[in-house]
Symmetry: C2
Subunit: 93 residues, 2 copies
Amino acid sequence: MSDDNVIYIGNKPVMSYVLAVVTQFNTGLSDEVLIKARGRAISRAVDTAEVVRNKFMRGLDVKDIKIGTEQLVGGEGDKINVSSLEITLKAKA
Amino acid sequence: MSDDNVIYIGNKPVMSYVLAVVTQFNTGLSDEVLIKARGRAISRAVDTAEVVRNKFMRGLDVKDIKIGTEQLVGGEGDKINVSSLEITLKAKA
């Protein structure tokens, strides 16, 4: 999967990311979109996937969900662990 | 899986839920624990699973992760959709 198919969730409203995912499916070359988030944005990633699936594109499966921990380096060189979530949505065959 | 093996994530600090999960594995009758969260607590559920796996009990697999939408009824009878997340942790055989 190329980087084009990855939507990174940040602090914008959920609908911004819903639009990004729907656009990606409609214009992209892949039948999969990967939604990625870290920290507090994780709940927004789940919101995004659920709104896309329930309101906009019913023909999608949740292909995979992964959780993990990433290590960030803070301003003073200290290391911070932050949780991550990846949701792969795939168009039904 | 009985209700005993379900840890519901709320607004307490992550370590409260980490302790609950570890205790459940150590005293429970099952080799699985289900971590459930809704809305903004979802990111805390991922934190809980990751801290348990990385710091306390390395012999755990993430058996399953599910996302969903639940409908809550608000104070004035209006319906609110809220995202949910379930993480199943299982002791390695």
